[in-house]
């Protein structure tokens, strides 16, 4: 049936039909090495379908139903090509995804190491393990979607998109579509979650804009959940060969990691940079003498990977913490004791770490001790011993995870050195309206992080007004002109600090006006109880709303002072921030069914100074829930021909309120030295810390039966098989869904 005959169909387009629409492919902004091989990524594929989700045509129709009906009728004539999904197979280049690149091995990056590398051979104890971390699907409950409209004759376009990054998207889509940045406005409305999956610039956004331009009418696209699973970026998908060098009495001498990372079929915005982000935290919170990290990025016939909550740092923390437990088992010591004796000593000021960057401040022991106390660690060990003694069917396991993360992305100079295309600054504008209200325009782009609340609080505290008098505007490039958006736990540490600086600028100007009006010198004024007051005569005072009104009226301003009370700050952080913490998970494993229940979860985090405790706790709870999901339930599985088998929420298991426990949370507070707020960041901590805490607990529950290996997710089947294998000595399979990626089975301790 031709497109003309289908009701409501406006057009059907392939890459050939849109050849002129895209001067460039979709952007990738982190070419991390000089010799990285970058495949061109067109919004519609021009030749080869490289993954299920690589679109070949787009149907535009008057309604969703009409478009879906027509899409059903689009016949694709394709020749079946071999696919490769396994990382080590792909590295052999027997099937090459991008002919022009000549290889699937597209990037290799090394941290370059630190300390004496000979330790990894010569240490008294050397633990080596291989760990596989499966692909995950981020699953923001709101999928992606966008609406493009404009005035084609004027060349002006607006894209409303469910994105975390309106500002970066404006730059990127301008390059892809050729619409000048001056004529392109991006609006991120209330966005329903992201977790890194909307930290990207997607084919559908570029297509909607190009089609709105071509057709001269608004074009809307809304993703359904299956499309989300196929075409929105995945996370993780890595294999690590890990080495820990240590002594018999428990000192960790060195940590070394060699990683293979699944890039998927193309690079999305940051794909090759994600493993590298983890590359700076592979020493964990430990004081080690030697460090090594390198990774190889490999193309496979699967959805591109990119940032997923934690981005590189959960992958790192998982293997470090698994390894520390394996080390403790090897030398017969308590894992808590081993961790504690290796924690890096505290420092108030920034100090250079073995990986070469400066850690802003650190005080890990109090955090660690508090976590053990809240978990009633000794009591739990006794309970465990009793259950082991009695041979209880339900065994208890206790898992620890101590982590450090790198947040507050990022000092622009370091980003430049790491070959990232953009800077890491952020911006804030404060406009004090007459008669009391204040408008804030922030460059951050919240999608559940509560910036409206926290930013109002920063401004209200600083200007002596109430949070209700502050209106925070964000997520629209025509409103917040400047910004670098929200990801990588950067918003408070960078955008929040920019806002604090804008507050100071407002106050500087306000002080000049106050002194003029009160007829005293500026030095005679002090800021007290929310107003500038004359020292010694506190009733002679001017509040910010008073001064905002005067500045707006401009009837009598001091010489040289411009009307209107406002302040803008663009802040480039001098350093990253380095939150840290310890989580403890207690699980009960049914040794007959392999089912794991989380009995207790304790998270003690140190994210520096806290602006709003309720929001910080909410971030930890949500992050831990995602980490528990990663540890026990979630895994994206492909069949041998590259079809995603977990292609809906009925196959990909997102935990409900039934599976996620109440958490016991506490904090210590070691102020960051990077910013004057002293904040470090908290949005990813839960997801970084929790997967190894949970898996360590599962292993600990059944280690007395001989189980030492456990993959993610620790599904009942996987746990049951591991127990069977250990107790019967029979050669079972300890992998995931059988037949999925058999070559990627987890290796064992040596």
């Amino acid at each position: 049936m031709s497109r003309k005959q289908m009701p409501g169909v406006i057009g059907v387009f392939t890459a050939a039909d849109l050849d002129d629409a895209f001067p460039a492919g979709l952007p990738m902004v982190w070419p991390i090495t000089e010799d990285i091989k970058i495949p061109t990524h067109w919004p519609l594929t021009k030749d080869v379908i490289r993954f299920a989700g690589d679109a070949v045509a787009v149907v535009v129709a008057g309604s969703r139903a009409q478009a879906e009906d027509a899409a059903e009728e689009v016949a694709v004539r394709a020749t079946e090509l071999p696919v490769v999904l396994d990382l080590e197979e792909a590295a052999k280049d027997q099937v090459v995804l991008h002919e022009d690149l000549g290889t699937n091995v597209v990037v290799h990056w090394s941290h370059g190491g630190g300390g004496d590398q000979a330790i990894f051979e010569s240490a008294p104890v050397v633990v080596q393990e291989r760990h596989l971390q499966p692909r995950l699907i981020p699953n923001a409950i709101e999928g992606r979607g966008c609406l493009a409209y404009g005035i084609p004759a004027a060349g002006e376009f607006t894209l409303v998109s469910s994105t975390q990054i309106p500002h970066i998207t404006r730059v990127g889509l301008s390059i892809t579509t050729g619409i000048p940045q001056t004529k392109l406005r991006i609006i991120a409305p209330d966005v329903g979650g992201g977790f890194g999956s909307k930290l990207n610039i997607y084919a559908e956004e570029a297509l909607a804009l190009a089609l709105a331009r071509q057709l001269g009418r608004p074009v809307k696209w809304i993703e359904d959940r299956q499309e989300n699973y196929l075409a929105t970026t995945h996370g993780r998908g890595v294999i690590h060969d890990c080495t820990l060098a240590g002594t018999e009495d428990g000192k960790i001498l060195g940590l070394k990691f060699v990683e293979l990372a699944d890039m998927g079929a193309y690079f999305q915005l940051l794909t090759p940079g994600i493993p590298e982000l983890g590359g700076w935290v592979y020493m964990g919170p430990y004081d080690v003498d030697a460090y090594w990290y390198e990774f190889t990025g490999i193309m496979t016939n699967a959805t591109p990977t990119d940032a997923y909550r934690g981005a590189g740092r959960p992958e790192a923390t998982y293997v470090i913490e698994r390894l520390v437990d394996a080390f403790a088992r090897r030398i017969g010591k308590d894992p808590a004791q081993v961790r504690r004796m290796n924690l890096h000593p505290p420092h108030v000021d920034a100090q250079t770490s073995i990986m070469g960057l400066n850690v802003d401040s650190a005080n890990y022991e109090p955090t660690f001790d508090r976590a053990l106390e809240l978990a009633e660690y000794d009591q739990m060990r006794k309970e465990q011993a009793a259950r082991r003694e009695s041979g209880d069917v339900r065994q208890i396991g206790i898992g620890l995870s101590s982590y450090i993360e790198m947040c507050g992305l990022a000092p622009s100079e370091i980003l430049g050195a790491l070959r990232y295309v953009a800077g890491g600054w952020d911006a804030a504008e404060i406009e004090c309206r007459p008669f009391g209200k204040v408008v804030v325009r922030t460059g951050t782009s919240p999608h559940g992080q509560g910036h409206d609340t926290s930013w109002s609080q920063i401004v209200a505290d600083g200007l002596g007004i109430t949070p209700d008098d502050v209106e925070v505007l964000h997520g629209d490039t025509a409103v917040s002109r400047l910004g670098m958006d929200t990801y990588g736990s950067r918003s408070a540490a960078v955008g929040g600090e920019a806002l604090r600086q804008a507050v100071e600028k407002v106050k500087e100007k306000a002080r000049i006006i106050a002194a003029h009006e009160l007829e005293v010198s500026e030095d005679d004024l002090e800021w007290a109880d929310g107003a500038f007051r004359v020292r010694g005569a506190p009733d002679k005072a001017r509040t910010i709303p008073d001064l905002a009104t005067s500045a707006w009226q401009a009837h009598s301003l001091p010489q040289g002072v411009e009307p209107v009370l406002e302040g803008t700050a663009v802040y480039d952080p001098p350093n990253f921030t380095w939150p840290a913490g310890t989580h403890v998970c207690v699980v009960e494993v049914d040794t007959e069914t392999g089912k794991t229940d989380v009995l207790r979860y304790v998270a003690v985090d140190d994210c520096g100074v806290v602006i709003n405790p309720m929001i910080v706790e909410g971030q930890v709870q949500g992050g831990v829930a995602q980490g528990i999901a990663e540890a026990l339930y979630e895994e994206a599985v492909y069949d041998g021909s590259g079809n995603l088998m977990t292609s809906s929420m009925t196959q990909y298991l997102i935990p409900s309120a039934m599976e996620i426990p109440d958490m016991i949370l506490d904090r210590t507070e070691t102020p960051s030295t990077t910013n004057a707020l002293g904040v470090k960041g908290i949005a990813e901590a839960g997801t970084i810390a929790s997967p190894p805490a949970v898996i360590n607990a599962v292993v600990d529950a059944v280690s007395h039966l001989g189980v030492t290996e456990m993959g993610k997710p620790a599904s009942p089947e996987r746990v049951w098989r591991a127990i069977q294998e250990a107790t019967k000595g029979s050669p079972g399979v300890s992998g995931g869904l059988d037949g999925a990626t058999p070559a990627q089975q987890e290796g064992g301790a040596s």
């Binding site: 969703r64 139903a65 699953n139 923001a140 409950i141 709101e142 999928g143 209330d190 966005v191 329903g192 979650g193 977790f195 359904d224 959940r225 299956q226 999608h447 559940g448 992080q449 509560g450 309720m614 929001i615 706790e617 909410g618 709870q621 949500g622 992050g623 831990v624 829930a625 995602q626 809906s648 929420m649 009925t650 997102i654 409900s656 309120a657 039934m658 996620i660 109440d662 958490m663 839960g686």
Partner: protein
């Protein structure tokens, strides 16, 4: 096209719908009630929960024609007409029971109908009642707390 008459949030609405139109799209697109969200295609997430004749249902699992002659209540009608929040909404607000807010309309509608059935639930019962509603942001803890708090407020108010 089929003609249906549905009482939505107390108002009788007559409309022509395609027989295959799902209730959720009828509400969102034909009536403009976009408070009800869509998060999946497999009746897994509960973002689309509304009340049909007082009981919570996933509006993506019903056809609009199945609502013919019945009463539908959506999130838009949960608060009082004067804007006073329902005790559940108020509790979610106070306990930080939402982050991105996308699952929230469904959570609220599911909880509102559950509390009618069981006005004084235990924590475990609340968790069980939410089994069909997924949230990716909150880890559920504050949602559960909000519902328990609202249950207390509502049963306290009645007694």
């Amino acid at each position: 096209m089929t003609q249906i008459a549905v009482t939505v949030n107390g108002t009788r609405r007559e409309a022509d719908v395609e027989p295959r139109t799902l209730l959720v799209y009828f509400l969102r697109e034909q009536l403009g009630l976009t408070g009800t969200n869509v998060g999946c295609d497999t009746s897994s997430c509960g973002a689309c929960t509304v009340h049909l004749d007082g009981e919570s249902v996933k509006s993506c699992t019903l056809l609009a024609v199945q609502a013919d002659g019945r009463e539908v209540m959506t999130i838009e009608a949960l608060a009082e007409a004067d804007g006073t929040l329902h005790p559940l909404q108020d509790a979610f607000h106070r306990h930080h029971g939402l982050q991105c807010g996308y699952c929230t309309p469904g959570m609220l509608m599911a909880a509102a109908s559950y509390l009618k059935e069981n006005p004084t639930p235990t924590e475990a019962e609340v968790r069980e009642s939410l089994e069909g509603n997924l949230c990716r942001c909150t880890g559920y803890q504050n949602i559960v707390e909000s519902i328990l708090d609202a249950a207390g407020q509502m049963s306290g108010a009645k007694s």
